[in-house]
Subunit: 446 residues, 2 copies
């Protein structure tokens, strides 16, 4: 690693430790060191050295992952891309930007908005997570019910391969089918196929005004789920459609008292950013009433809207105050959302586990958060048993283990249930094409 | 091939010949036979036999390809999926369908519309092309300026691999990040990685009413290009935005006289299917006037609209009357659309070649069609020279060789210019994972 300038390589174990973790409870091993790359050349140097010495490399961005993909093990080199923060180009005419992986997601969005554009993907962590991390996990977010996930905004990539070669994938154009879709292959591959050092991303026209927002309270989760189905079926095209269960609402209410009513079992928050958004929000309000909402209100001011969305964005922090968290991420076909919610409640009761659920309801993507004693190094057996029930049920309903957080380390134990042996073999084959020595983030994703 | 029932295997050379071609001028070789598969099991049987005997297999759908991807060579087995036409499932609640590869694209769209939904991708050939072929080429179309290409509607696939194993990729859910994106890898791979035997595709809410449509005539192609940029930058989100040059308009006018004016150099046809579509169409009309249109009209009736769109859909047939056609498919960043149009005109003049261009202008995707003497087996040297100029210029402008037709055989000679050696090597590596014997559509796509 002598080829890297001073200050780019950290070896103090106490310092390294903070680079070895993500937002899960998982304990890292003892990595060799951490490289703070500032350029593509630093990444090339690191990968050549790692290949030569057959040392595992764990790439990372903001460290906000919820599945352990950037938790570093013994003897690994941590490769942080967080200092590669240049927005190399932003073209309003072509509605694209070329960015380095360390750019904070919200920063790109802000830069785009100066030109009347936006960067659509907005994982809940978007104020602290990086584009590189978003690409590595194919992050979703609140707006993706209308605008799609990170994959849908990724046009092309610059990638450093395991042996230090530089690969350019994709394009700057809206469409393109030259060769296999390598861009799509890297998105969501959790740093196991290469290290992304730049991305060409699609921007979109930002809506002209602020979105119209409604909130609805329900006495029954099933009613809330039915309202979501009805709203989507009515073609309302919400730009946000979030569901919070009672346990989540209580946790938020404890953190910031918003006057949670005794009979409220679920809250639905929805937005429309269409040009006729106010009318759409009122239509969604009516559909909620028709589906048994106990209270519905369309927000009358941007402040009120911000407060509502603020409550939702507070959900994870509120839960972290309750104890250690295992955050899950099942996604099911939208029509069975109520069934999945019922199954989560049943699993919580059956195993005596505390679970708070929020859902990107318009996508059928649920985040059951298992709360357990902060003293435990690992979730206790009953948490795993409840998670097991939930995953099994999600797959039976035609769902998937992970809608947007990725497999990382946490979902390895259930991976075979979903993917099957042929897919597993094919994926190992692909991995070997890009990383024959198996040094890129070993043990993650597949 | 004895395992296949009677009637599924054709060996008469005259009959086979019609299965060995696509819509290009390319002459096929002498294939061994054609299998008309009616089920996944037929495909499995065929692939096992082909693997055992190391015989190349050329999968095909409707045979409407424009790049030679389904043109069969000497000694190959043609594997037609055209008889696998079942819509296995259509779920209005989840807005998905599970379809076999031989389903005609327009048939799926029609089936969806019975439930207030639509299947968005609509290549110009959608009345005769198949979902399988659309997936194999990642087909675009007229509506993809708003709704994305085939990839954006593909959620999961059932694929028979070269050795007959069955692989299931993807999901039924709106989001999902379990493992690598194998679905995306197969889409656009032109039958070189596996044979798609079913697809789970996303449907979308159909607009409530017919789209509002405008047509604008320009005396200058550059003005028309500038109008497109201005319309997109104004956030109009057209659901269709097509540009036809003078040569194309003349060819269409010859076929069906629509009163083409002497001074008209380009026509722009645009639609909005938004709920306030009429207002948007009028806004687009104004923008055209501001950008020098000589005549603009918003359509006043569905009949008038149908006639206008009919003119556009007639473009390819009109050109085929002029001679043999080489259809190209460059895509450039939208802002340089006028430059690309100018470059095409210059190449036509420089090499004395007749080129008619239509463009999915909102995407920067241009189809210059080179007309040459039907007597020639191959386009003459000046056509290739002009094509060469156009591709070189497209790449210089940050564009790509193919926006939606694929590489097939026709674009092999330029592939290295765009992809570069690292990408080429990686793609060969991926191909080898899926098809180690190299029997799946050899010589195509990569």
């Amino acid at each position: 690693m002598n080829a890297l300038p001073d200050g780019r390589v950290l070896t103090d174990p106490d310092v390294i430790d903070s680079y070895a973790r993500d937002r899960t409870f998982l304990e890292p091993g003892k990595p060799l060191g951490a490289v703070l790359a500032t350029s593509r050349d630093d990444v090339v140097t690191t990968m050549k050295w790692a290949s030569e010495h057959q040392v595992p490399v764990v790439p990372r961005g903001g460290g906000t992952g919820l599945a352990g993909a950037s938790v570093a093990g013994d003897g690994a080199i941590i490769l942080s891309l967080a200092k590669m923060t240049a927005i190399r180009e932003l073209s309003p005419a072509d509605e694209i930007a070329v960015v380095e992986p360390g750019v904070i997601t919200a920063d790109l969005d802000r830069a785009a908005r100066e030109h009347g554009l936006m960067y659509a993907p907005d994982p809940s962590s978007y104020q602290i997570s990086t584009i590189g991390g978003n690409l590595a996990t194919n992050a979703g977010g609140l707006r993706c019910v209308k605008y799609g996930v990170t994959r849908d905004s990724a046009l092309g990539l610059e990638v450093v391969l395991a042996d230090g070669r530089v690969l350019n994938t994709g394009r700057r154009t809206m469409k393109g089918v030259t060769g296999y879709d390598l861009t799509g292959l890297f998105v969501g591959s959790e740093g196991t196929l290469g290290v992304i050092t730049a991305a060409t991303v699609r921007l979109r026209r930002a809506p002209a005004g602020p979105p119209a927002t409604f909130a609805a309270e329900f006495g029954s989760l099933r009613d809330a789920g039915a309202a979501v189905s009805a709203i989507m079926a009515a073609g309302c095209q919400p730009s946000l459609m979030e569901l919070l269960d009672r346990a989540t609402l209580e946790a938020i209410n404890d953190l910031r008292n918003f006057g949670l009513e005794a009979g409220t079992t679920a809250m639905l928050i929805g937005q429309s950013d269409a040009s006729d958004g106010q009318a759409v929000a009122e239509r969604m309000e009516r559909i909620c009433m028709e589906n048994g909402a106990s209270f519905v209100a369309v927000s009358s001011s941007p402040q009120e809207t911000e407060e509502l969305i603020g409550l939702r964005r507070m959900a994870y922090d509120a839960k972290e105050r309750l104890g250690a968290c295992l955050v899950e991420d099942v996604c099911v076909p939208r029509s069975v959302l109520p069934d999945m919610i019922t199954a989560i409640e049943a699993a919580a009761a059956r195993h005596g586990v505390r679970i708070c659920t929020v859902a990107h309801a318009g996508d059928g993507n649920l985040h059951p958060v298992f709360i357990f004693d902060r003293g435990s190094a690992e979730p206790p057996a009953e948490v795993w048993a409840a998670a097991d029930d939930i995953f099994t049920h999600a797959l039976e309903l035609g769902g998937t283990l992970t809608g947007e957080h990725g497999v990382g380390l946490l979902k390895q134990r259930w991976l075979a249930m979903e993917a099957g042996p042929v897919a597993a073999e094919v994926q190992r084959g692909i991995k070997a094409v890009f990383d024959p020595l198996g040094i890129l983030n070993p043990g993650k994703a597949i």
